[in-house]
């Protein structure tokens, strides 16, 4: 049984992020019957106008970035993607395939005959977005899974603020709250604005999709920069914002292995007076934990 004190605890495990927020376990059952409503998967952060349109249609919206069935996320993608590929893209493809499980059909058969219940997938495919690798496998979704695909560009430039990034919430919860903030904004709910906390260190990068438990090694006084901060601002294509960091606090520049953003993370880590570049594939290794904890200890962060 996992608990919050366990360093391997992964708060995202078994969680599904929908426009109704994170839901867990049996509560997911409402997804089983979308009835006559459009059931739309989204990848990345589509622009506000697209999300408004989905709300108007009363669509059931599933974030394929966050939705996760189990930890064996590579298995369903073995014949689709190369082994050396971003863990997050593998997760997205696995997520799309596994949605069919709700209809208790055999996954591959159902998918191949076009019975995946997702009626449409909207992929944010901006010039500078979270990732261009997803764009390269999008044809698979359209041609092999027979799911309607819409590529949209997010050019939103109005920054909504970074209150969660600079708050005293534990880092793993920050990632969840930031993802949830996107939905809160969509539904015109009151923005979540936790109190500012003075930083001891910082995390720069995308959320650690391959294993969120890495967040448990950071203190609550961790500020968040990079693409995750762009997401809280609802400006995922804001490269200027993404390039920012705080030179006064030790900073971990993180990227998924095989992610194009690794080049940016590595470059900024060298530029930062007390920066370190850490990449991770699926699952934390002992060496990565040792490298991270040594960095934090030697900088008197923990």
């Amino acid at each position: 049984m996992e608990d919050k004190d366990d360093k391997n605890y992964n708060p995202m495990q078994d969680m599904v992020l929908t426009r109704h927020g994170f839901i867990k376990g049996k509560e997911q059952s409402f997804l089983q019957n979308p009835k006559d409503k459009p059931f739309v998967g989204i990848i990345g952060i589509p622009p506000k106008e697209v999300m408004d349109e989905l709300i108007q249609k009363s669509a059931i919206i599933l974030s394929l970035d966050m939705y996760k069935v189990d930890q064996l996320i590579t298995e369903p993608t073995d014949n689709i993607l190369p082994k050396a590929y971003c863990a997050q893209i593998k997760r997205i493809i696995a997520n799309i395939l596994s949605v069919t499980d709700y209809w208790t059909e055999d996954v591959m058969d159902s998918v191949l005959v076009g019975r995946n219940p997702i009626s449409e997938i909207i992929i944010e495919d901006s010039e500078i977005c979270r990732c261009n690798e997803m764009g390269f496998v999008a044809d698979f979704i359209e041609n092999e899974l027979k799911i309607k695909l819409r590529r949209v560009k997010n050019k939103d430039i109005e920054r909504k603020g970074d209150f969660i990034c600079k708050s005293g919430i534990p880092l793993d919860e920050k990632f969840g709250k930031i993802a949830g903030y996107f939905y809160r904004d969509m539904e015109k709910k009151k923005p979540f604005r936790p109190e500012y906390i003075k930083p001891k260190c910082a995390f720069w990068g995308t959320p650690p999709w391959g294993d969120f438990s890495i967040a448990n090694y950071f203190p609550i006084e961790t500020h968040v920069y990079g693409w995750t901060r762009c997401v809280e601002n609802l400006t995922p294509g804001d490269l200027k914002l993404e390039l920012e960091f705080d030179p006064d606090v030790p900073t971990v520049f993180f990227s998924q292995s095989f992610c194009p953003k690794a080049g940016l993370a590595s470059y900024l880590a060298n530029k930062h007076p007390r920066g370190i570049f850490i990449d991770m594939d699926i699952g934390l290794t002992r060496s990565t934990v040792a490298k991270l904890t040594a960095f934090l200890q030697l900088n008197n962060v923990i």
Binding site: P273, R274, T285, K291, F295, L298
Partner: protein, 217 residues
């Protein structure tokens, strides 16, 4: 107190009471062997307490190096790591945890396979760059097949590894070097900057510092 640095290939054992020092293959350690405290890739199997390798390296640097500012690089058989101090304060560290790994092991295997005596081989100006030891070995075999003498081809790979390690450690003017490759004269002579050798028990000095500060209380 018995201290152990259990690397991927070699175990370094230091008895602090007798000052006895032993180096042996990890595969030759008795299954029942238990050090009091230690560090290294295989440490959890052979010690009661373990210390993070970079913490051990940083402690060792502070204790053994008198200069206020220095770079200490440890190249093992599987990986490499370094710490940088300025004015006695920790500035930076890195660890090529897996990628770029197996360089030390590859150099040893290559020497045995090609029957090259590294102590009698001259450093080369030309170099072979390789992402990891295994790919590097492939390049060496290709060079030998193309007519290059085996010891020259091996020396070019070593030069390539040295340049790669120098860049990895952020190109300092001077490097304090520890790890198994300190015993390889060709490797030391091939380093592209001033290189000061510390012995293979360096990490254990850091472990000893840790033990004195944390375990004796």
């Amino acid at each position: 107190m018995v201290l152990l640095d259990a690397g991927t290939t070699y175990a370094k054992i230091l008895n602090t009471d007798t000052n006895d020092r032993v180096v042996k293959r990890v595969s030759d350690l008795e299954k029942t062997f238990k050090a009091d405290v230690g560090t290294g890739h295989n440490i959890n199997r052979f010690a009661k307490h373990s210390v993070n390798e970079i913490i051990a390296l940083a402690n060792a640097g502070k204790k053994l190096i008198k200069e206020d500012s220095f770079t200490l690089l440890d190249i093992g058989s599987r990986d490499a790591k370094y710490v940088v101090f300025e004015n006695r304060n920790f500035i930076h560290s890195d660890w090529n945890t897996e990628c770029g790994a197996f360089t030390g092991q590859a150099i040893e295997i290559l020497g045995n396979y090609l029957n090259v005596d590294y102590s009698k081989t001259l450093p080369q100006k030309e170099f072979i760059t390789a992402t990891c030891g295994l790919l590097g070995m492939g390049h060496v075999f290709d060079s030998v097949a193309a007519g290059v003498e085996p010891e020259i081809a091996a020396a070019r790979l070593i030069k390539g590894v040295c340049i790669s390690m120098y860049r990895f450690a952020r190109k300092p003017k001077k490097i304090y070097l520890t790890g198994g490759l300190v015993n390889n004269q060709l490797f030391v002579k091939s380093m592209p900057c001033e290189t000061v050798i510390l012995d293979r028990f360096t990490l254990l000095e850091g472990v000893k510092e840790y033990a004195l500060n944390n375990l004796s209380k």
